[in-house]
Amino acid sequence: MIKKLLSVVFFILVMLPINVLAQNGSISGKVTDASNDEELVGATVYIPELERGASTNIDGEYHIDNLPSGTYELSVTYVGYGSYNVNVSVANVNLVQNIQLTSDFADLDELVVVGFGTQIKQDLTGNIARISGESIEGVRVPSFESAIQGRAAGVHIASGSGKLGQGIKMRIRGSASVTAGNEPLYVIDGMPVTSQSQSGTNSITNPLADLNFNDVTSIDILKDASAAAIYGSRASNGVVLITTKRGEEGRTEFSYNTQAGFSTPTRTMDWLNAEQYTKLILEAADNTDKIIGGTGQRDYVESRFNALSNGTDWRNHEVDADWAGAAFKDAMTLYHEFSASGGNESTQFYASGSFDDQEGIVIGNDFQRLSTRLNLDHTATERISLGLNFNLARSELTRVSDDNGFATPLQLVAQMPISPITNPATGELNDNTLYYNGLLHDEHADFTQTAFRNFGNAYANINLTDNLAFRSEIGADLLNQNEDERYGLGTAGGMSGFNNGLGASRWVQVVNYTTNNFATYNQVFQNVHDFEMIGGTSFQYSTRNTAYVEGENFPVDDLRTIASAAEISDGNTTGSDFAFLSYFSRANYKFQDKYLLSASGRVDGSSRFGADERYGFFPAASAGWILSEEEFLRNNDVISFLKLRASYGLTGNAEINNFGSRGLFGVTSYAGSPAINPSQVANPGLKWERTAQVDVGMDFGFFGDRINGELDFYMKNTSDLLLNVNVPGTSGFTTYLDNIGDMENKGVELAINTNNLVGELMWSTNFNISANRNEVTNLNDQVITGQFENRAVEGEAIGVFYLREYAGVDPDNGDALYYLNEMDDDGNITSGDETTNDINAASRVVAGSPHPELIGGLSNNFSYKGFDLNLLFQFVYGNDVYRAAGRFQSSNGSFLDNQTVDQLDRWQEPGDVTDVPQARYRMGNGAGDSSRYLTDGSYLRLKHINFGYTLPAGLTNAISLQRARVFVSGVNLLTFTNYEGHDPEVATDFATGNLDLGNDYFTAPQARTLTLGVNIDF
């Protein structure tokens, strides 16, 4: 690209005077495949300077006439082939210019973004997954992580639910820490950005949703140590480098994109209707009465039915309310984007503005984003260039309660179907229900999170000599977020302590300043020694402040701000900072274009660690050998490219509290008096968590790279785990942060790209599959628990489900049975298949794992004439999901909660063989936490489909358009799974620790979105 740009610049400069004097001529010729001389139909032949061009016809021929005399660059492009540029001199006659194109499937000369620079893909010795911005255009999801799901090997991405704007988990080659962060470092145009949730509730939200990913040109994911170690102490979880679009010299290209559509839940669940419900619950009450004697349970249940059916005749099912359906709404989605890019030889720009309006499938949940961007590049002198990236965004997220709040829409499923949704007497929403009616929240409460985001950075590049360049970058990521909550009178009673309405306002400001200053030296010695070196420093300072105020006692609901609150009931401000100071260097050496060596090192200092352990050193080295450049493989008919590579390096993890090493007293209060208290016990020896990673891989291309791909094996060993170690509670503390323990991730990744059909009907396939095995190898004999049943135990993957094992139902009496699983000291089960009906007598075992055994994606791309079709299937295989709400939703009538329809299969009389125990109200028969609610979470999903038609050029040119395309785009259109809950891609939002994996607790299903869109370039 650079080369092309330069040659254009050169020729314009040289030939401009000649043009003025020239006369008209024409040019014609044939475009063929270099390897077999076949004619290529539909290749584009274009003269950029004149904005003139033609396509080849059925015989591969083209003709462009009426050309002013002069010398031009002729550019020939064809899908699946490398582009071809040739300079032609047009005089007053027809010039015949035949062109041969070479197939180019692997994009090996593509530039890949590495830390502090770029590198040609062919020369890489590390493992970097690259996703082009183009491939995710038109995917209607709030943030780019969802859009790249299934597109990169070894990268496991899961959004927790269909609630918009929620946090998303990205695990690159597994989880590398128990206590410290597991999310990768996100870097946008060289600046590390704030990616941690700033939500004031337990539920995490996603600050990366502030980025309009249609502005992104590429996403490069640094996976192995060689690639990532240049980010040192923060690279253990991988690094995601996001590069935004830049302008190119030439005419200003305008583009307008729009999409409109709707979303529905991917899956819904079936619940008992009024008749089934009353029958089951009364049966449950009768069964309990039989066991304990009397009619107390039936009397009680009937009294509750009488009270909560609101005077309707529940015995005859007068009301049969669809509470589950009330949680969802018709969700529309709308997107507009306008962009312009272009520039002259010295200044180029890219500018865009977009408005994204996505309604959530869950009532009370919507997302809007307004985003503008300006990227500028200016060449000041032959040696000095500078530029600016500026992104301003406002996003507004309308939120609902966390999954564990009665007010959250998905908890409506628990209401009795005999309770009317609206009170028949008043026509108002019914406030006399089993649990708080969450619809009252939808009507009388607001929770709006507004973020103002500014990603901005500037750079200057000085080419001191032809070989030495110095680059200075300075940038800031400003995040201002407001969470505005208002609970009206109608919500009183639903939440504790409300007094005539409650309002709260919370502001968070996170400012990240970064400056990178580094020099790059490039030299080729004696034509065979290709040497590149960088060295520099980086400094980041981050400051975070919050302010919170809460008021009660509002005169009327319409007054929203806390100025109207009679009582200011709570308020505080907080502040916390951290700093990183780093020195880094990397050298790449290439000999004869076939032997590659790379070494890098980074010294990182952080304010987060004790003064004794403040600096860490993170080196990495890698080597590559391009076998296909060797004599014995050169010109091989089958193998067109083959590279072996290996890397080893150390990376770190510093994602802990800002002052994790210090002994601290916090501040509290009692009865209006200020107070202090020991809040953290000191650990002056606290240091980095270190991950050593080995990667061995191979890049290959067969049949002229028509089939190409990558295969990698890796082993990541994390030691000195930053661990919240349980300490005896008698010390006055429950945990302290220490470097204890080891963890291991090992895996294999395979990515294959094939060009199945080339020519008029084009079909290419990208397939990736990867397997990661995580094992906690040493925790100092500790067992660490998550909020549900997940645990970290030695010898198992982090977050395995540690549960009593459900053994089904005793056919004789309907008791729920559990395997005893008595164990000896070595953990061997000594009780065989013996079962018990006493859940407390059964021991817990590792009953499943939230980690998939395999993840992957399969993308097929077709094009024919004006049509294009992309289908992405994504799959996750071998993981379990714990349906933590199952003990309420599918408890065979242990509570008054409405039940899933499968509970009708309960045991009723001796001899019944079923998995659902006898219904016993209030006796918890089978309703304890056990593997009964653990189900396979594997799924295969049509993640994304994009089907478009580009109007013929003749038609669009006639109305002065460069291109016009209409398309249909779908997200999550099909899901294949055996999961028993809503959607298997699930993580409840209020439990977000590293161990809290794969739990479903009244969690919203994912959204299925279908949109119709138009792209217009002019």
Binding site: F578, V667, T668
Partner: protein, 459 residues
């Protein structure tokens, strides 16, 4: 040009190297360094206030100890199922009510860790008394010892066998930790002391507190609060002489007085005249889980149903019966209805009358007053006729006193403790049943190897 570049580079590097290293010295804005924090009198006083704070709520506002669990767990564990029902969906409380407590019960675990958290707070205060201004040093020490004694008393009676259950000299109580924790080492692995060792420490702390504390101390503990808790400790140990002396001291010497109208005892925003010691809850700070569980309105969950079996214990016209609110076919305790700033009563003067009556009765003494007068004092405040004028009573007997005590102090955290010391039974379990002693929390057994083989019987 080259020189310019190198100059720039060197300048930039030097700048970042020298200037930024200092910037790594980032200090917290909301916390203080442990090493220097307790070097002045004011901070030590603030640390003492911090101990009160944790007795009711975490800094995040979640209820701890007297903010709920210490009181409602005592009643859930000690109540017959026909008197009190846990109807809520929370499992930890249900397990206590069912008297089938798994070792990982989170509420039982939190009582343990929070009580020791408070103990560490006061140990910090006691270790730093040297820097406290002399004028207030006695008070600061007295309050710290009062809180420590109180916490160990709650711990030992929940997690150890009752004093009257077997031999307290060999029965295991809880580990005694009397110094602040500044780092985590092997020394933090402490094993359990015996019940009698823990009681000895409690008596030592509370006796000191009684001597050191002033007779009036706002809503912080005063000398009578120490005496009141001492009377409970003596009662638990069957030391009725001292129980009578301490309770009588509170009644006779302090300014505390019974509230004339029973209804006004509860749900006030401020301490009443009969609150000898209460935990302060304000709309800004503190938590009241008792309101949340006992009450069905104002955000209450209505998880604790009061049943006929309990209501039948009252005589007609009893003001204490009138306090219950009918909610469908169950009743709600009217003692915990203030959702905003209802204080939590830890010792009321009424308890002192009943303690003195019982102790005098058992010893055949009349320290302060006769048992009959003391019981009637309480009865008359509840709008009931005095016992001597009622034909249903032949004479005052111990059962009458204990019955009066149960009704007066119902749902204020006394059931299980009174049941154990009077050797009663609940739901078919005898007072010394293993099920009525909390397990040592599983997390504690796992984290502290010194507790190996020291789990309570039956777990």
């Amino acid at each position: 040009m080259k020189y310019l570049f190198f100059l720039t580079l060197v300048l930039v590097m030097t700048f970042t190297l020298s200037a930024c290293d200092g910037l790594l010295n980032v200090d917290p804005q909301q916390s203080l360094d442990t090493e220097t924090v307790l070097d002045n009198s004011q901070n030590v006083e603030s640390a003492l206030v911090g101990a009160y704070s944790r007795m009711g709520a975490t800094d995040g506002g979640a209820a701890t100890l007297y903010g709920g669990p210490l009181l409602y767990l005592a009643d859930l564990l000690g109540a017959d199922h026909d008197e009190l029902r846990w109807s809520g969906s929370f499992f930890p409380q249900r397990e206590v009510w069912d008297k089938a407590i798994p070792t990982d019960n989170p509420v039982v675990t939190a009582v343990w860790t929070n009580a020791y958290n408070v103990i560490n707070r006061v140990n910090n205060v006691i270790s730093a008394l040297d820097v406290v201004d002399e004028g207030i040093r006695d008070r600061v020490e007295g309050e710290a010892r009062f809180i420590r004694g109180l916490m160990y008393f709650e711990l030992v009676r929940f997690y150890g066998k009752a004093w009257n259950d077997g031999n307290p000299d060999s029965n295991l109580g809880v580990p005694l930790v009397l110094n602040p924790t500044s780092s985590i080492t092997e020394e933090n692995n402490v094993s359990r002391n015996t019940v009698s060792e823990v009681y000895a420490q409690i008596l030592s702390d509370l006796d000191d507190a009684k001597e050191l504390l002033p007779s009036e101390n706002g809503y912080y503990a005063d000398t009578y609060a120490a005496s009141a808790i001492l009377s409970r400790v003596h009662l638990a140990q069957g030391d009725y002489d001292d129980a009578a002396l301490e309770s009588s001291r509170v009644i006779e010497e302090s300014d505390y007085a019974l509230v004339s109208d029973y209804e006004d005892v509860y749900n006030a925003s401020n301490n009443t005249t009969e609150d000898v010691f209460a935990l302060q809850v304000t709309s800004q700070q503190g938590a009241n889980e008792l309101q949340q569980f006992y009450e069905a309105e104002d955000g209450g969950r209505g998880d604790m149903d009061i049943l006929e079996g309990h209501l039948d214990l009252y005589e007609a016209g009893d003001a204490r019966l009138a306090l219950f609110d009918v909610d469908g076919d169950v009743s709600r305790s009217g003692k915990w209805t203030n959702a905003i700033d209802g204080n939590i009563h830890i010792v009321r003067l009424a308890e002192m009358y009943l303690t003195r009556a019982e102790a005098n009765f058992r010893e055949g003494t009349t320290v302060g007053d006769t048992p009959l007068n003391d019981v009637n004092e309480i009865r008359e405040r509840a709008d009931l006729d005095p016992i001597e004028s009622l034909p249903i009573f032949d004479d005052l007997d111990l059962e009458d006193i204990l019955h009066e005590r149960k009704l007066e102090l119902a749902f204020e955290g006394h059931f299980i403790h009174d049941l154990k010391r009077t050797e009663g039974s609940v739901e078919g379990l005898s007072f010394d049943a293993n099920e009525l002693v909390f397990p040592i929390p599983e997390r504690e057994m796992d984290a502290n190897p010194a507790l190996e083989d020291q789990q309570n019987d039956g777990y």
